[in-house]
Structures are given as structure tokens and as C-alpha cells.
Amino acid sequence: MIRRTVLPLCAALLSLAAVAGCGVLGGDDPAAQAAKEPAGSSSKGTAAQPPYDVKPLLHPDKDYFGVALNGAPSSLKPVDAFAKTVGKKPNMVGSYSSWGDGFNAEGAQNVFGDGGLMYVSWEPFKPGLDKIADGSQDTYIKKYANSVRKTNVPVAISFGHEMNGGWYPWGTKDTTPATFVKAWRHIHDVFQDVGATNVIWVWSPNIINPVPSVKLKPYWPGDAYVDWVGIVGYWAQTGAHTFDTLYGPTRRQIAEFTDKPVLISETSSEPGERRRADVRALLGGVKEDEDVIGFLWFNIPKRADWRIQSSPLALAEFKRLIADDDFGFEVPRS
């Protein structure tokens, strides 16, 4: 009698316990794991990394040291060579992307893998800003944004730089500030819908010195749409030769409508007598000014030989000043 009742009971209880035990032990509630695990150290290889948060990159304590080089960032060899030349590794590498080109995901990963950040100048040569603004380019924008999102490394994107000049098709000649703003916001919105939150949006006008009549405010998309103000301003043989006279007028105009951090997003000094002084003025100005978060040196021969190594004296000055601890830092890993 006992055997008859106790045995089946035991068998049932045992199997229930086994079944329940499997449940408890086998339980790997991913959300419970996520609530405990420190970021980045996902126990499962397949688990998706959290999206990169660019917030710490927006106001860094030190200054960005950027460079644009032929062949980079698809290959890092030019960057390594440049680093050897100037004695410091840049932490921002510029690149150019024409409207219609795919996103250079490999380049972005190369730069990030090397401790830096890719800076893309996205140049809408073709269909016109009105086409971008009205949504007819959305397929391309979404594809580009998805590519950016999947890369999951920080990327600075400057769309339609030097919009206040007349020399580009997206400039003052062929389009209006309202269309520029509309197109900018539309691209930004598509990126947000897609979820490409790893982008630092850089609004980059040219210095106003050559185009004083063009007001910048109408081109401003709004604080919610821009992370950095980029300023394109080269040190030429003639013209302004101090940090303040070259960038000051532009910055003062911009300061009227935003207090976003400023990056000298494209600069170099024309070879010549003044080049050494220009380098000293630039690096000194960036280092001294708290609102300026860095500069991107255009080291490509184009119209002029903008490469720093073409002037030994200037190069020596550059090496001396860039060695300052304020320039360059490793971009946070996550």
C-alpha cells in the first residue's frame, strides 16, 4: 500500500522538481542580465553592444587633433606616416563623401579602432537640396543612416559645408537658407528615425571674411539639430593672420544664436613666409580658447600644397606645439 502510493508520488515529485530545476537553472533572462552587467562586458558574444553614446565626445576636456589625408581613413597608413612626421597621433581623421556614395563604414571603424573619430564632409553635389528636403532622397538617406547605425562607432558628419559661400552647388547661388535648413533637418530626422544616434552633427560655414554679406543665422538648423559648430578657415598668404581676426568675426556672429562648441573643421596654412607664425597662432588659439574644441588640418596638396611637411620650419613649430598634452586624446571606447 505504501509502495503503491509513495512511489508514484515520489516519481511525480522528482520529475516535477527536475522540470522546475531546469527552468530555474536554464533561466537566462537577458533583461535581468542587462540590469546587472557592466556596460560593454556582455557575457554572450552575440549580444548586441549598446549603441555608442556620443555625449562624452561633445565637450571633451582636451582638444581634438584632426587631419585630412589622401587615402585615409580607408587606409591608416597615411595617418601613421603623418603621426610619425608630426610626432603625435591624430584622434580625428577627415574624409569626404559625395551625395550618392555609401558610408565609409570601414574607414569609420579603422579610425575608431585606432583611438579616433572619423569626420565626414557630406557633399550634396547632385540632386539639389530641395530634392533632399522633400523626401525623395529618403531611400538613400535611410541606407546611409542604417550603415552608420550598424557601424556603432562615433562619427562626425558635416552636411553641406561652406553653405554660406557661392562656390558649391549647395551654396548661396543655387539654394536658399530655408531650403538648406529644411534639408538638414530632414536628414537629421531620418537618422533619428532609423536610430543612428552615434552621429555628431557638425554645422560648418566658411569664415565670413570673404562673404561678409551672407548672414549665418538663416542657415542655422537649430540647437536640437546640431552638436558642433565647425568653421572652415584657411590661413592664406594675404588676409587675416591672427586667430581672432581670422575666426573672430564668424564666431561672434554665431555666438548670437548658439553656444555650441566650436571646431576649426578645416584649416591649413598656405606655404610661405608666414606659415610658421600661422601655425603658432592656430595651435595657440585652439589651446587657449575654452570654447574651441580642436582643429582639423587639411594636409592635402590641392590648388596649394597644404601639407605641413612641405615647410620644415613650420613643421618644426607644429611638432613643438602639438606635443602639448592638450592636443589629442583617445576617444572613449563606449
Binding site: V19, A20, A32, P50, D53, K55, D189, G195, T197
Partner: protein, 558 residues
């Protein structure tokens, strides 16, 4: 041995059944000695005098000495033809008064005939083994389902009631495992109840049908009290069946279980009337009009207990919330979830109403329930399956209907078990039908559970929020329960607020009082588009792209 076998063997010698010829209880040995094969109808104890050949039972106290038959005797020893003119030698004999039957020391009570095979311990063990397999399949079907907590589960584990404090110690996995234990228990009790009401074969078929239901697998993997409530109902049903032969007062054992069930899950209240009717119907056969006393007792005590429960714990909420779901749509859904089982149950009920037994044991006629009671039982069991769908269709509230259908089906499933048993026919003539029904129910159940059991893929969201939240912030989110549960170490439940849409969301965002906003949305809502106060921190897509879930979007204060 059943009483029928004994009765048939002794009282109706002229109409003996084939099966008895194969198992002559004690005559074979004598026949071998005396008549060989030709005399296969021994046991002439009571009518031997009619035949007049002086044969006496060895146990009657007079030892029998074998002798060579004479020529006349040989001639006589031909198959018995029921008596004819004796053209043969009739030996001298003395008429002996038959020994009076001794009073039996023990009489077997009448046992309901359950199946063609005799219920012995071997068949009981086989049944238990099959039941164990069924339970393992059920557990497997539940474990198939996986994922993070549903909002309701998270709520159950954090803020609900006092009981949850106990359950919360187990965590989500523990609470789900507990649910599975209740669910397995309910299936086992269902088997027991059906076995008692009909037979073991119907019981196994019922357990098998119930174990593969969408609602069964779901509740078995759902950290809530639904599973406990089902267990309590099944326990009440089993106790009703178990006490069907006892005095009406024994039904009181079932009342506490029935009364507790609605306090675990309010939808169980719908089935208390069914249990009352079953209390009457299951007892009738054995207690006559006492059955109504039984029903009345059950109803009264359950009612009193429920009333006391309401006084003590308050009315369960949510049972009568009206909604805007389409009634036809809800009924269609219910048909998809429980239609197969209900159909089989109806077939079983019709078969049961037509014939009380399948006739595997033609000799085992006798006390079967009458046609009216069979009809009422069939109607009650099948009709109960419609209660939740009809009620919720009337309310227009489809909330958790995929779980609630399982409550009604719990009562229809015994009939479905009988239906499967009937369709397979006497002596398992068409087992393929039973297999087909089971496989169909299994596939349908698996597919439906896979579609319904889609907890939000919140892991990435939780991981991202963990970096954002602190003990002081206020957070607006589409999933406050889930966030509060998983981030209970970092935050308090009061910090999480339910997000709305449209103007309400715009107002909240404009006010800017929340430190983070988490929405499940396919695109950025207007309120947060180009917002200067909040920046989009992350957009987190579910890992299962076909899951139909919108990505989580997290905004944080700039």
C-alpha cells in the same frame, strides 16, 4: 474479477460467454481426467441432477474415483445438446440435496466498469507512465517559450499584493517555474477527474488534449496567479469526482478550492456555477436526490467562503472592465484557440448521450447514467468552454482572453477525452484518429503559443537605462512595470511613470520634468522631434526582427 464475471459464471449457465470458456476456473483438471475435451461445460453442481450422470464436485466432500466408462457411457458422452430423450443407459443414482451456498464473507461492491481491460495495478502503472509522458511534453512546450518579463509579470513581481513579496524572492524564473508546477498539477488532476468520471483512457486523452493547448503552455510559463487558479479549479473538479460516491457532505472538501480560485484569478468566478452543476450531475448516479443536497451544500459553502474572501481581501478588480474590442473578432480568436478541443468535446458529448458505453464489454450493462443526465453533463461541460469567450465578447474586452479560454476548456476537456476515446473506437480500432487529433492539437497549440508569447525584448533597453537612471530621477516610459522590476536595485517603482501619446505626451515633454523618456515607437513622435530639451540617446531594435515589436527609443535630458 468483477461482479459481473462472477454472476455470469454462476447464474446463467445456459448463456455463457465465449470468454468464460477460455478460463474455466477449476473444472479443467477434472475434465481431463474424466471426459477429456468433450466435456467442456463442467460445473454441473446445480443441475447435474437433471443430466443424471452422478457427477459430484470433488470439493463437495466426496472424493471421486475415476472409472473406465462403459460402452453406454461413451455413447452418451457427446456434446450436450440441451437434453433429449435418453436412448442410452441410465445408471442408478441417488438424488443428493445440493449443498447450500455458504454466505459470502465479503461481497465486492459494485464498481463502475471503466474499460475492457480489468483495472489492475499494471494498467494503473501504464496510465501513470503515459500521464508522466504527457506532463513532460507539457513542460517541454512551456520551456520552449522564453524571454524577458511581460509587463503584467513584472507588475506581479513588484507591486501586486502581499503574496508577490513571497514569489518575488524566486525571481522571474522561479515564479515561472512555480506556474509550471501548478499547470502540471492541474493536468494531472484533470486526468484523475476524467478517469473517475469516465475511464482511464478518456482521462489520458483529456490530459493529452489539455496539455498541448495554447493557453496551457502559456500559463505554464507566465509568472502570474492564473496557473494557480487553474490548479484550484482542477482540484475542485477532481474532488467533486472523487467524492461522487460519498455522502453529500463530502463535497465540502471541494468548496475551499473552488472558493479560492477567483481570488487567484478573477476569471475563475465564471466557473463556480459550472462546478455547482457538476456537483449535482456527478453525484446523481450514486446518491439519488441527495445529489441536489450535494449541489446546494457546495453552492452555499462556496458562496459563503467567497463572501468572506471579499470581505477580507476585497473584490478582485478588472473582471467587468468594458472595452472596445470587436465581439466577432474575439469569438473568432477563441475559436482558433479552443475550437479543436471543443469540437472533439462536442463529438464526445454526442457519443456519450447516444450510448453510455462503447460496448467493449457487452456483458457489462447495468447501472449507467441515464440519457437525461448524460445530456446535461455533455451540455454543461461543452457549454462551459464558451463562458469566457462569450462574456469577454459581451464586454468587448479581449484582455488575456488567450489565457481565459483555458479556464473554460478545463471543463470541456473531459468530454474531449471521451470524444477521442470514442473516435478511436472499441479496443483501439482506429488509433490513427486519436493520433491525428493529438498531432493537430499539438501543432496548432505550438504555433499559437509561439505567436502569442512575445514578451517585449527589453534587455537592450534595460541595459541602456541602467547607465542613465539614479535614485532621484523621474522617468516616463511605455513599460514602467518592466523597468521598475528589472532596475529595482537602482530605482524605486514610484520613479517610473506611464507614458501616453498625443497631446498628453506633448505636454509632459514640454514640461520637461522627466529625466528620461522611453517609448516604443517606429518613428520619432512629433513632440520629441527636434526637441531642445531631450536628445535621442539610443534606438534599440528587438533582436527578433519578425516579432512585430517597435524599437525602444530612449531620450535623455540634454
Amino acid at each position: 474479477m468483477t461482479t459481473q464475471q462472477q454472476d455470469g459464471g454462476w447464474s446463467e449457465p445456459g448463456q455463457r460467454q465465449d470468454w468464460q470458456q477460455h478460463y474455466p476456473p477449476y473444472t479443467e483438471q477434472q475434465q481431463q481426467q474424466v471426459y477429456g475435451d468433450q466435456q467442456a461445460y463442467g460445473q454441473q453442481q446445480t443441475y447435474g441432477d437433471q443430466q443424471g450422470y452422478g457427477y459430484q464436485q470433488p470439493y463437495a466432500g466426496q472424493p471421486y474415483i475415476p472409472q473406465q466408462p462403459t460402452a453406454g457411457q461413451q455413447h452418451y458422452a457427446r456434446p450436450y445438446t440441451g437434453g433429449s430423450d435418453a436412448e442410452y443407459y441410465v445408471p442408478e443414482y441417488a438424488v443428493l440435496e445440493p449443498e447450500p451456498e455458504p454466505e459470502p464473507g465479503y461481497v465486492l461492491p459494485e464498481v463502475p466498469v471503466s474499460a475492457w481491460s480489468v483495472d489492475n495495478s499494471r494498467s494503473a502503472w501504464i496510465s501513470r507512465g503515459v500521464l508522466l509522458l504527457i506532463l513532460l511534453v507539457q513542460a517541454g512546450l512551456s520551456f520552449r517559450l522564453d524571454g524577458s518579463a511581460f509587463a503584467q509579470e513584472a507588475k506581479f513581481l513588484t507591486t501586486d499584493g502581499e503574496l508577490s513579496g513571497l514569489v518575488a524572492q524566486l525571481g522571474l524564473d522561479g515564479a515561472r517555474a512555480l506556474s509550471l508546477a501548478w499547470a502540471l498539477g492541474a493536468t494531472a488532476l484533470l486526468f484523475g477527474a476524467t478517469r473517475l468520471l469516465f475511464n482511464a483512457r478518456a482521462g489520458l486523452a483529456a490530459a493529452a488534449m489539455y496539455s498541448v493547448l495554447e493557453s496551457t503552455a502559456f500559463t505554464g510559463r507566465y509568472a502570474s496567479l492564473h496557473s494557480l487558479s487553474l490548479f484550484l479549479l482542477a482540484a475542485a473538479l477532481w474532488l467533486l469526482a472523487r467524492t461522487r460516491q460519498s455522502s453529500p457532505a463530502a463535497v465540502l472538501l471541494a468548496a475551499p478550492f473552488a472558493a479560492l480560485a477567483p481570488f487567484a484569478a478573477y476569471s475563475a468566478a465564471l466557473y463556480l456555477p459550472t462546478l455547482t452543476v457538476l456537483a449535482v450531475l456527478t453525484a446523481y448516479r450514486f446518491r439519488g436526490t441527495g445529489a441536489f443536497v450535494r449541489g446546494a451544500l457546495f453552492a452555499a459553502v462556496t458562496g459563503v467562503l467567497c463572501f468572506a474572501g471579499v470581505q477580507f481581501a476585497g473584490t478582485p478588480s478588472g473582471w467587468n472592465v468594458k472595452g472596445t474590442d470587436g465581439a466577432v473578432e474575439l469569438l473568432k480568436d477563441s475559436a482558433q484557440w479552443g475550437g479543436v478541443v471543443l469540437l472533439v468535446a462536442v463529438i464526445g458529448a454526442v457519443g456519450f448521450i447516444r450510448r453510455a458505453r462503447m460496448g467493449e464489454m457487452p456483458w457489462a450493462e447495468g447501472s449507467a447514467p441515464g440519457a437525461i443526465r448524460r445530456s446535461l453533463l455533455g451540455l454543461t461541460m461543452c457549454g462551459t468552454a464558451l463562458l469566457a469567450p462569450l462574456y469577454q465578447a459581451w464586454l468587448g474586452n479581449g484582455s488575456s482572453l488567450y489565457i481565459h479560454v483555458g479556464f473554460g476548456l478545463l471543463f470541456a476537456v473531459p468530454m474531449a477525452g471521451l470524444g477521442v476515446s470514442r473516435m478511436m473506437g472499441a479496443h483501439f480500432r482506429y488509433p490513427q484518429l486519436g493520433i491525428m487529433i493529438y498531432v493537430a492539437a499539438l501543432v496548432i497549440g505550438m504555433a499559437q503559443t509561439g505567436g502569442l508569447y512575445r514578451p517585449p525584448d527589453s534587455a537592450a533597453m534595460i541595459g541602456a537605462l541602467r547607465e542613465v537612471v539614479d535614485t532621484k530621477g523621474q522617468y516616463l516610459t511605455d513599460d514602467p512595470e518592466i523597468s521598475a522590476y528589472y532596475l529595482r536595485a537602482q530605482t524605486k517603482p514610484g520613479q517610473w511613470h506611464q507614458a501616453e501619446r498625443g497631446a498628453a505626451l506633448t505636454a509632459e515633454v514640454k514640461k520637461g520634468s522627466y529625466d528620461a523618456v522611453v517609448l516604443r515607437a517606429s518613428s520619432v513622435p512629433e513632440a520629441l522631434r527636434g526637441n531642445a530639451n531631450y536628445r535621442l540617446l539610443a534606438v534599440l531594435r528587438p533582436s527578433d526582427k519578425d516579432g512585430g515589436q517597435e524599437p525602444y527609443r530612449i531620450w535623455v535630458k540634454r
